[in-house]
Symmetry: C2
Subunit: 494 residues, 2 copies
């Protein structure tokens, strides 16, 4: 592949730069990966913001710094960062560290291109088509379209935007002025990104109707229908229903078949926010009971950077409809999407996007998928859901622990730890207030001791409880045993 | 930092996985970096989409693939990808490959966290504050706020959204229904992301007024003011003016002082889209003549992934106003932004964003900046603008080449190549049509020969011309000589 050019041969990678990159790789391998996954290391070496500022040398100066200094900065950055790859990091809806995804990420960064045209991203354009097609097959869409977005919130925003465009294509040109109120429906337990998107889109958060949920956190479809009728009676225009497949806190799956019936009846766009719980579509064992009917939706958000471990950022927005993404977003910029190119310009997919430059998010997912095969992901998803059962049983049986939901559906296990001082005092007036303070206090001690990380939050009128979530199939029963013991250790004197 | 945990010590990085990662690093170093920067290699080994599909093994199968197979896939991916790090890649508004930025990118991917809370991104939260503060200082804002966004288009969308919120905070809740038409002003030469954002926001592309430009591509402020008055007379509401500092095709800088006067007079939000040409703010030599008055704007988009070589994606949205980002976007999710944490929760900056999970884009920029120092960036920016002068003079003097603009302001050099068969035929009826076909044909041959990559496009009624852009300070005069010679070689028989 020599280009046979004239001109002096410059050294493309000078020795000292090569040495620097090799030293960087050592830091990544030893500090970032080996120590990052090492269970005997702390998950975080916590310092208060003001103290951390003094521990790091963040100031940028006039003069350059040398390689030694830069390596030191990299080591410090690792040292004071949270180890999200630690086996006992359960704090967010992502965790673990997959070597194949990571390899894909490094190479993506090295190749540094933008996903807008076949011209500058030939491999990744075709690869994105293959992977999105595969994901649509798994959902159960025939045909359709899709795009990788910078996160699930943006994917949800796409859903609202294309649904609105389909409802009335003129809105692209004329905006919402003079139109009747458009109204969006989503459950009380759904992710806040729906509201954020509605406000960005000029629809407004007041026009997001929060549908009631049952005690398990699932949307009540009779309430959905009642709200739709109410909104119509007010003269406003329902156009979009968001269902959640795996809610953020409780891990509930909305009843998709029932919602699909309502959407069909009223002619509404049905979107499924499976950002978190979408992985279950790859579990032979758990799929049917969780997402039956998902193929009846118009669109779906599915984040492989969450349960599938693909690394930030990797979020697919998939839809059943063809051409809609293109028509809704195209601006036909002539400097980028020239029509007189010498290849089939339908491979230039960038005008489907509301972005211009778009990071390549597909390669890491593709490489990991190649490495695991479909089988690997089937096993992983089964494993995650199986381990959830283990923890549920464990927490049920343990004194001082109380589940928020007896039968969680996703890998969220929400529970209270009730310290001995509060046991049997459920009827006292300040019980809830006191219990509310337990989780934050345990969390503080947890962070300071650095042994694990798990989140907590209140919900409605429920006092603060822990949300143990896991998204990595490598979590062991031992890790889950440790979790319970450690919470007890940290909180028993409270 | 040992956590002193009980439990068996698992091997955090098994030997075969370590070997795989080492092999990956070799591919990255040799194929991705050394060959990627090697001037004697092709910029692209082009194949038509259908052929490329047969050269790659993209299908994902049931069974896993072994390490050898995966390494082969990585090599193939590099082989058929465009080398954006090649010294003669001039096709987009990004190029080059900076080893420090790259090192930062790899480590960012390895640490895989999300920029929403201090809790999971302690170092990066503080680092983002430092870098955004520094960037605001360079712009000339005192105080203010900012956020890294997934690209300049999204940064421009933020600008419109916060400006609209400031104009009428109720829109967040009630949407645009029943309001008078809101109108946005931007120049005819501005980037299409303003229109895309206006349609996403429910404002509509018809409510984006395209202000006329002079022959150099700069916004004509008298036309801006005339349009503002016209719109007001129609009963609509002007609220936002976008200026461009470095237009996409011609590289024009809008007259910021003049626009600032108009915005002040009419009480409009002034945004500067410096996604492309923002780097000039770091050039002691060229700054004043390009962006005088930039500090009078309300907000700015500035993409270090373009002229500053930080790698996709790195785009800062900066604004002069405090609290606005937060108020405009906050949803106060209790599961993420708990207020009863044990550290100062003003460090949890995620609710300023319209995203939830947010990739860390700051570290690569910070590390590169540390490596170069302020001095390094000053020199780089001077170098880029100096080399532009070199190319301009060269093209001016060369037979068969004709500049679109005699004195380009940014590092865009736009020109026609006129093959011998067309010279002196400017007055013939089909001259323009014939000239229009020259650049696409040369481009085709260029891609197939793989010696370099440069873009072309038409503009208004101007036939296709080349846009030579560069964003890397390592481009040499020799590279620019080559460019001109090569276009001639590829096109002289046309
Ligand atoms: C002037 C201008 N603004 C905004 C953008 C959009 O930036 P991004 O590609 O990061 O979305 C571009 C991209 O070329 C541009 O040239
Ligand atoms: C159900 C659900 N939807 C959407 C999102 C948003 O995804 P992202 O963080 O990628 O924007 C989340 C994030 O936690 C989520 O839990």
């Amino acid at each position: 592949t020599s280009a046979n050019v004239k001109g002096p041969k410059k050294d493309p990678l000078p020795k000292d730069e090569e040495d620097f990159l090799k030293a960087v790789f050592q830091v990544i391998l030893e500090d970032g990966i080996r120590k990052g996954r090492d269970i005997t290391q702390k998950v975080v070496d916590f310092h208060q913001p003001d103290e951390l500022k003094t521990l790091l040398d963040l100031e940028i100066r006039d003069a350059p710094e040398d390689h030694q200094g830069l390596i030191k900065h990299m080591k410090d950055t690792v040292k004071y960062s949270v180890r999200t790859s630690h086996p006992r990091f359960f704090n967010q809806l992502f965790s673990g560290q997959n070597s194949y995804a990571l390899a894909g990420q490094w190479l993506t960064e090295t190749l540094n291109t933008s996903q807008y045209t076949f011209e500058v991203a030939p491999v990744f354009t075709i690869m994105e088509n293959v992977v999105l097609h595969k994901m649509r097959d798994i959902v159960g869409y025939t045909g359709g379209d899709g795009i990788f977005c910078p996160g699930g919130s943006i994917s949800n925003l796409y859903a609202l935007n294309v649904a609105r465009y389909r409802y009335m294509p003129d809105i692209k040109k004329t905006g919402l002025f003079g139109l009747p109120r458009l109204v969006v429906f989503t459950s009380k337990q759904s992710h806040y990104s729906i509201k954020k998107a509605a406000s960005v889109l000029g629809i407004g958060t007041n026009n997001v109707v929060l549908v009631n949920c049952d005690e398990r956190g699932k949307m009540i479809t009779s309430d959905l229908e009642a709200q739709i009728l109410r909104v119509k009676a007010e003269g406003a225009v329902p156009f979009f229903v968001n269902c959640t497949a795996g809610t953020t806190v409780l891990g509930a799956y909305d009843p998709l078949e029932e919602v699909a019936n309502v959407c069909e009846k009223h002619g509404l766009w049905m979107h499924v926010d499976a950002a978190w719980g979408g992985g279950v579509m790859m579990s032979p064992k758990y799929r049917a009971s969780r997402v039956r009917g998902v193929e009846r939706s118009d669109s779906i958000t599915w984040n492989p950077h969450k349960m599938m471990g693909a690394g930030q950022q990797c979020s697919a927005f998939l839809l059943k409809h063809e051409n809609l993404l293109q028509h809704c977003h195209e601006a036909k910029a002539k400097y980028l999407f020239q029509q007189d190119k010498f290849y089939d310009v339908s491979y230039d997919t960038g005008d489907k996007s509301m972005q211009c430059g778009r990071k390549v998010d597909v390669f890491k997912l593709w490489l990991m998928w190649k490495a695991k095969g479909n089988q690997g992901f089937h096993q992983d998803m089964d494993a995650i859901f199986d381990k959830t059962r283990y923890l549920v049983e464990k927490v049920k049986a343990r004194e001082g622990f109380k589940l928020v939901l007896d039968e969680p559906e996703c890998s969220n296990v929400c529970f209270w730890y009730i310290p001995p001082s509060l046991r049997g005092k459920e009827d006292e007036a300040d019980y809830k207030d006191k219990l509310h303070q337990v989780a934050p206090k345990i969390k503080e001690r947890m962070v300071l001791s650095g042994t694990m990380l798990v989140g907590y939050q209140p919900l409605g009128n429920k006092p603060n409880f822990f949300r143990q979530v896991f998204s990595s199939p490598t979590v062991t029963e031992e890790d889950l045993d440790f979790l319970v013991d450690e919470i007890e250790r940290l909180g028993e004197d409270l």
